[in-house]
Point group: none
Chain length 209, copies 4
DNA sequence: GATGAATGAGACTTCATTCAT
DNA sequence: GATGAATGAAGTCTCATTCAT
């Protein structure tokens, strides 16, 4: 019977959520503490400081992503097209299942180069993502072109997440993931308004209230 | 005849640069003032506060982009494929000609939904971009599909800019723009490792030092 | 008509007094601010931080001592024995005219080697003191021996000030200064209980309440 | 047979060392605990609080000094001049055998009058020292003058220790002890540059690097 | 219009202390 | 007896903002 998640993890969870939705600078240590039932000072039992919390949160995302998302690309028992589909589905679920916000992208843009500890982690995360995609694609496209396609797919997904912050419309992310799957499966298509369909889009770019 | 830059404009310029490269919260009013030779208190002659400065900076970006970038998509004297190429080139130049950082994306992620004044402007910016792209694409793809393609292209470009923050590699943005052009010009291609070429990429994902 | 002392000086004054009587770590910036009618944050208009305040306070003591105390040793119009007497009298007045506490000694012992900025200033202060004494003594004792005697006199005076912190008895400091004067003036003597006098000291070491 | 050091003694040892070298306020309970292999909370099994630790440390210094240093002045089997020499040697060894720092002087200056518990102990320490010196000197100088000379000697020694904190030069302390011995032994002299000797002092006041 | 002193809220952080386990 | 989580007060410092000059 596993004991309840350690408090350290609770702090990371709370911080992750807050950093993602409100930004790093806009989140205070007191808020993080309050979010997991602690007082400001208590957080410093587990972490050396705010940066340390953020670093742990980034590490958590990296580890989680490796295990639950990027790892899907490496299963040798599954044919590559299905592996790609699994990966893309996981990515879509991961980013769409929230009101928006990508910790990696957020921190990358917010702190820029001012905190090298963060940049290295963000880089590692995108490297992992790229490696996962490349592994699935290189059989068909060769290593070089597969790498490019991986980068392109990541960019499009990240950009979709960013746009979702404003539009609250998950369709862009969905299409990005569908098109990625299509790289190995021609039957897949992202086009909602595909030839002949031309469904009505009374409001082409859905705005949130 | 270029009118003399007012002090107000100078503040906006400085703020724009600082917000983009260092983030909104990470930039102090004193720094903005110092960057244009003023003292902190003087800034408040021109602006009601920090948010007001940022709003003005966003408005500046919106106006500039309309005039210098998105406007290129509406020139009736130029055939659509060329208009699209002009637009894509301008976008690439705009984002690649710096060490990185996109004010719109940055603010969208950093302040999230906490400052509605910002969100509305970010939204307007992306709307402008989408409208420009859609206008060029709808002749070929129809309004609905053109809108989707526009959103996809914007997402990919924004994501490329975000990745550039980390990788410092402009290639992803370049391919994003080339592929956008290819939507109307089949001769255009982004693939460096295109069929038959398969150049070696000893370092598939270039990292900055 | 010189304007009133600048506020920066007021902060230094207040800090000097507080650091001396309560110690560096035991004095908060808020206390310093309150002591000169400011609020905590206002002090940071003049100083970069607490260390900066202390450094300025040390500089003030160094400058004041040079001008009002150690400078007395260099007046060529006064014969050395009288110069030495003037110097010793000034030292005695300077340290006795308070309830105790020597900023230099205090900081030297309290922060030890942890703040090099402080140590350098303390060193400079004692160097000034030694140079002043040596200048007066070297005519009679030669440079080498004069230097030693200067160091010894400084040590004794400093020690007396330290003891005064506990005993509140200025007699030890007075004798230290008298004996220093006696180095050039045999008529001077510090001994209260000198031969023939032998006054009664019912309580040899006076304790403060 | 030396009894086994209790944990309580270990805490006192560690505290003594830390308070002396880093100051009272600059030393945290956690550091004291860590220095003797305990955790912060465990210290409170032995002491009521930080002040209590410091009080015990001062008591330890008082007891140690009585036994190992000041006690040397009271041995009736040794003639006074030799007793004085023994005492002075012990003082010199005690203070010179470290990189500097005198707990008594440090606490006296650092906490000033704010903690009466400390002041009383510092006073007792100096009283012990004075009593020891007076006992040796009064046969020759009479009680009153002996008390003065004792105070003067203590002041000079304490001042020398304080200077050593800055200069790292033990010579001042050595001369202070030699001159004290000379009070009963005319053959003793502290003067390095004494008549006929006149050794070179290329650097009259040695500074630490 | 410009200044710079002053503010006061709030940020991050430290730390002596308590206490349930 | 020992632990280590939790506390809460206090400390240093930042910064958007105001305002008299």
């Amino acid at each position: 019977m596993p004991t309840r998640k350690t408090d350290r993890d609770a702090v990371i969870d709370a911080a992750l959520e807050l950093f993602r939705t409100r930004g790093y600078h806009h989140t205070s240590v007191a808020e993080i503490a309050a979010a997991c039932g602690l007082l400001k000072g208590s957080v410093y039992h587990y972490f050396a400081g705010k940066q340390d919390i953020a670093a742990a949160a980034l590490d958590r995302v990296i580890a989680d992503s490796r295990q639950k998302i990027f790892g899907l690309a490496g299963d040798p028992a599954v044919p590559p097209p299905q592996r790609l589909r699994n990966l893309a589905d996981a990515v879509e679920r991961y980013f769409a299942g929230r009101d928006g916000g990508c910790l990696m992208g957020s921190l990358a843009l917010e702190v820029g180069d001012s905190i090298p500890e963060f940049r290295a982690r963000v880089q590692r995360y995108f490297d992992d993502w790229k490696a996962a995609l490349t592994a699935v694609l290189e059989g068909r496209y060769g290593a070089a072109r597969a790498g490019e396609l991986a980068e392109d797919a990541i960019a499009r997904a990240q950009g979709a997440v960013l746009l979702m912050e404003v539009t609250k419309d998950p369709a862009v992310l969905r299409r990005a993931c569908r098109d990625t799957v299509a790289l190995l499966d021609p039957n897949e298509t992202s086009a909602a308004g595909s030839p002949g369909a031309a469904r009505e889009h009374p409001e082409p770019w859905k705005h949130a209230s």
